[in-house]
Structure formats: C-alpha cells, structure tokens
C-alpha cells in the first residue's frame, strides 16, 4: 500500500467531519431537551440543572402510549396484508406468467415514480365518500395500494429467477397452484419477503403527508404524523419540542441499532431494484 501519511490523515479528518455533521444535530436536540421548559438555550450548551422531567412531560402531552399503539396498529394492518397480496401477485406475474403478465407488470411499474402529492387530492374526496376519513383505515388502505407497485415489482424479481424445475417437479406430483404457492414458493421466498417487510414497516412508521391530510386526530396517526401535530402545538417551547422529538425517535433508533444490517441492505436493494 502506498497511501501516504498525510493523505491518510486527510481522509480520516474528512470521515470524522462527516460523522460529526450527522451526529451533532442529535446531540444538540438532546442537550436542548434538558434545559428548563420554555427557555431558549444555546446549541450545544450542557444545562446547569438537567431537566430530565421534560421527557416525562413530553411523554404525557404527546400521549406517547396512544401514539405507539396507533402506529403499531397501522403497521400491523398495512404490512402483513401488503406482503400477502404482493407476493401472490408477484408469483402470478413472475412465475405462473399468466396471459397478460407483461401488461400487468407495466401497469405496476408505471406507479413506481408517481409522486405522492400527485394523487392525494382525490384520495381525500374518495375517503370522505367512503366514510373512512379521520379513521386509521384512512391511512391503512391507501398505503397498501401505494406500496403495490414497488412490492409487486420486488416480489416478481424474485419469482422470475426461480428455476422452473422446482415448479415442474411439484406439478408432476399433482400439486395445485395454491399448493405450489403456499408450500413450495413462499418458503423459498422468505428472504425477499422479510426485506420487503422491513422496508414497508419503516416507510409506514415515517409516513407524514397521508396522515396530515386524511386524519385530523394526531392519536390516530402514524408516528411521523403525530410528530407534525406535536410541532404545531409546541413550536415555541423548544426544550419540550426537542424532548418530544427524541421520544418519538427512540423506537426507530432502537430498531435501527438492532437490525442495522438488514435495514441498510433492504433499503439499498430496494433502491437498486426500484
């Protein structure tokens, strides 16, 4: 290796600077959250008397238990259903290659680049007409639909590469299409299904616009949607706002630390395939 010493140090300094750029904002809201409620502290100043009670206060006013339950409910309603129906569709398009597969694939791929704000207006009126506006289903149902382009595309990419010998052997044994799906191909697709599940859970938890437009009651929203409402109420009380933000971030950060490898891999694969 002929990496000169000065170059090595320049590189290290750059990496440290980038890490500081990423981390300092978190540290800043943490120290701010410890200042007395209602004050306007400086960016990184450690308080003389850390107010740990701010977290308790934010926990109460943000109604954290309700928010956690609401977000968990939404994730549990969106992700399993999306996984099942997108796996089935990916199986039919990628492996059964039913007549019309090419058209179906094109139809789903078409939805990949659609920006959210483009379709939110009719969804609002649609949900008012359906009577689900301001319920959790107002978030759940459109999210399932919105995930379909990516999810079907993702699962199809798996099934299209499965060797046909597996399918034929099972057919010879008299397996029906359902047997083939349920007992042979779903177990083989565990890895892509798991990655897709991780991706959709993170996306759902962080969903904002759809919650903002379709659900007025913050306790019926996703975490991100509730955080938006919290900011609206406490924008002037910086320490409390920072404490609330940290509380709302904790579940995400814990999950990230535990599953960082899977999450990073899934997010990268997701973008490469998308």
């Amino acid at each position: 290796m002929r990496v000169s010493r000065s170059e090595l140090w320049a590189g290290r300094v750059l990496l440290l600077a980038m890490m500081a750029f990423t981390i300092l904002p978190f540290i800043s809201i943490f120290t701010t959250a410890l200042h007395p409620s209602g004050t306007v502290p400086g960016g990184l100043e450690w308080p003389a008397h850390p107010q740990w009670g701010n977290f308790v206060e934010a926990f109460k006013v943000a109604q954290m238990p309700k928010l956690l339950l609401s977000s968990t409910f939404i994730v549990l309603a969106v992700v399993p259903v999306s996984l099942v129906i997108s796996t089935m569709a990916g199986f039919a398009i990628g492996l059964l290659r039913i007549p019309g597969s090419a058209v179906l694939l094109f139809l789903f791929v078409f939805g990949l680049t659609l920006p959210f704000p483009g379709i939110i207006i009719p969804i609002y009126f649609l949900e008012r007409a359906m009577g689900i506006y301001n319920t959790r289903f107002a978030i759940v149902l459109p999210l399932i639909g919105l995930y379909m382009p990516f999810a079907v595309f993702w699962m199809r990419a798996h099934f299209v590469n499965m060797p046909s010998e597996i399918t034929e052997a099972a057919r010879v044994d008299g397996a029906t299409t359902w047997d083939l799906f349920r007992h042979i191909h779903v177990p083989l697709a565990r890895a892509p299904i798991a990655s897709l599940g991780i991706l959709m859970s993170v996306w759902t938890w962080n969903q904002f616009l759809i919650a903002l437009v379709l659900v007025e009651d913050p306790t019926k929203r996703t975490m991100a949607g509730a955080l938006g409402a919290f900011q609206g109420h406490y924008a002037t009380d910086i320490p409390l706002l920072c404490a609330g933000t940290i509380l709302i971030l904790i579940p995400t950060l814990v999950v990230f630390v535990l599953f960082q490898r899977q999450i990073i891999t899934a997010l990268l694969q997701g973008s490469v395939k998308g």
């Binding site: 590189g11 129906i85 680049t113 483009g118 649609l126 382009p149």
Partner: protein, 310 residues
C-alpha cells in the same frame, strides 16, 4: 428448457383436459393478482385519473364543478408564485441530489482507500442514520439548529464569523439553501453506503495496479472509481432527484414554503391550494404537472442507468 408438455405424465393426459387445465390455471393465476390489482386500482390508478379530471374543472371541493378546459394550466404558467414552485424544485435538486451524490462519492472512495476496516464500517453506519428517521423529525431538528440561537449560528460565532449569523430558514435568500442542507444531511448517508457497496464490487487489482504506479487518491477517484460506478450513481440520482422534485415533509415542517414563497415547492403548493384555499382544480393541474415533471426527469436518468448496467 423442459416444459410440462415433454413430460410423460403430461403427454398422457388428453388434449381436452389439458386445455381445461390451462384455462383453470389462467383463472386461478388472475385470482392471485386480483387483490393487489384492486388495491392499486382503487387507491392509485383511480386517484391518478381523477387528478387529471379535476384539473379541467374549477371546484371548491363542495359545490358544483365547472368545466374550464385548460385554464387551470394556463393559470399555473401565468402566476409567478405557482410557476416559481417548479423553479424552486429544480433549485432543490442541486442540494438534494448533486451535493449528496458528489460528496457521497468522495466519502465512500476515502473509506474504500483508507479505512476499509472497522472505522470505515462505523462511519458508514453513522452517516446512514438520518435515512431511517422520519423526514418530519429531520425538519424539526434542523428547524432548531438553523434558528437564530441554534447550533449553526453558534458555530459561526465561535469561528469569528458572527457577521454571517441569521435566522436561516426565515431569510428570503438563504431559506432554500438551508432546506437544501437538511436534504444533504438526510441523503448523504444513503448515497455513501450505496456507492460504497458498488465500490467493493470493483476489481481490486485495478486499484492495486494504480497504487503500484503511485497514483494519488484523486487520480484513482477520477480514473477508476467514477467510470465504474455509473450504475450506482444513476440509482442515487434517481432516488435523490425524486426526493427533491416531490419534496413535502421537510419543507412543510421547516418553512411551510416561506418566507414568502421562497421555499414553496409543488408538493407544498398542491397541499395549500387543495386543502386550505379550496382551489381543487388548480391544485390538481399543478399536481399533474408535478407528475409529468418527475417522469420527464427520471426516465432519461433511468435509461442511462440501465444502459450502463449492461
């Protein structure tokens, strides 16, 4: 390839039952697609068509709809504040896309050349962190950092640049770059990790040969890394350009489009027009233009990316 027709068992079945089987399979195959297709059709395709339909009407969301043809589109082009959102979106691309991709290339190549071990792995994970938190949280955190008493101004003061301090997000000239900086923070890690992964796939002997010749980091970077990472760069551009053009969460939380209209992007303007000003038709016209814009910008990038993948 072995098809079922070649198999003795399949040959033994009569033609008619095979035909029936094919028909039954087609039917059951479509049943497999149906749930996904219905959800997609009801909550994406139908709203898409309705957005286009609304864009030809004047409608307050409650009363009768009035057909106005292309007038809403003409309005978008005539009103500077509306057309301005599209220019703002392109200015955001500069920040959300070019800066993270450029900086990501530099950072990941530094990791690759000088910190392949544990330090590099930690650096990658750390810079990736903002990618998993809600964009709303990123907006709130930076809203505070960029405020008058916030960290950014404190750092400037500590560096003796006190003259430059300002309320960044409330400044007509600086609000958009400040919002852009939030985008850099969120997207840099994603680009770095993706490009880093791409770099590990490049043949090591290329770098070794270059190092034996005593090539500097810069020559390695320009001569080997960039040309061989076209595909990954394309993916980064697709993701970040879409994030910029269709931005909503960060802008809504950090500035809500202000001050004035200096950070208003199409997503924000669509929301304001449709849900606070009740100009549903006009909002829909802008939404349609946003969708066309995204496709028009992303498709060429995708095409280039796919080509370089071959």
């Amino acid at each position: 390839m072995v098809t079922s027709e070649d198999h003795p068992v399949a040959l033994a079945t009569s033609r008619r039952t095979r035909l029936q089987r094919v028909r039954r399979e087609t039917l059951s195959g479509w049943l497999f697609v149906l749930p996904a297709l219905i959800m997609y059709a009801v909550f994406v395709l139908a709203p898409l068509l309705l957005t286009i339909l609304y864009s030809f009407y004047r409608w307050d969301g409650i009363g009768p709809m009035k057909w106005v043809g292309l007038k809403n589109y003409a309005t978008v082009f005539e009103v500077p504040d509306l057309l301005g959102t599209i220019f703002n979106a392109f200015r955001l691309v500069l920040w959300f896309s070019f800066v993270p991709v450029g900086l990501g290339l530099v950072v990941s190549s530094v990791i690759h050349r000088m910190a392949a071990g544990r330090f590099g792995a930690i650096a990658r994970t750390v810079v990736f962190l903002p990618q998993v938190i809600p964009l709303v949280a990123a907006g709130i955190i930076w809203g505070w950092l960029l405020a008058l008493p916030g960290l950014i101004n404190q750092i400037l003061k500590a560096l003796g640049l006190g003259a430059f301090t300002r309320a960044w997000l409330g400044d007509f000239d600086w609000a958009l770059p400040a919002v852009g900086l939030i985008g850099v923070w969120v997207l840099l890690g994603f680009c770095t990790v993706l490009l880093s992964t791409g770099m590990t796939k490049i043949d090591k002997s290329l770098y070794e040969a270059a190092r034996i010749d005593g090539a500097s980091w810069l020559r390695e970077f320009i001569g080997i890394t960039i040309p061989l990472l076209k595909y990954e760069v394309g993916v980064c551009l697709t993701v970040t350009v879409t994030a910029a053009l269709a931005a909503f969460d960060i802008v809504y939380v950090a500035t809500a489009g202000g001050p004035g209209n200096s950070t208003a992007v199409p997503g924000i303007q669509v929301y304001i027009l449709a849900f606070t000003q009740r100009a549903v038709g006009l909002a829909s016209a802008l939404a349609v233009m946003l969708m066309i814009l995204v496709v028009a910008v992303i498709l060429p990038i995708q095409r280039l990316t796919r080509e370089s993948a071959k």
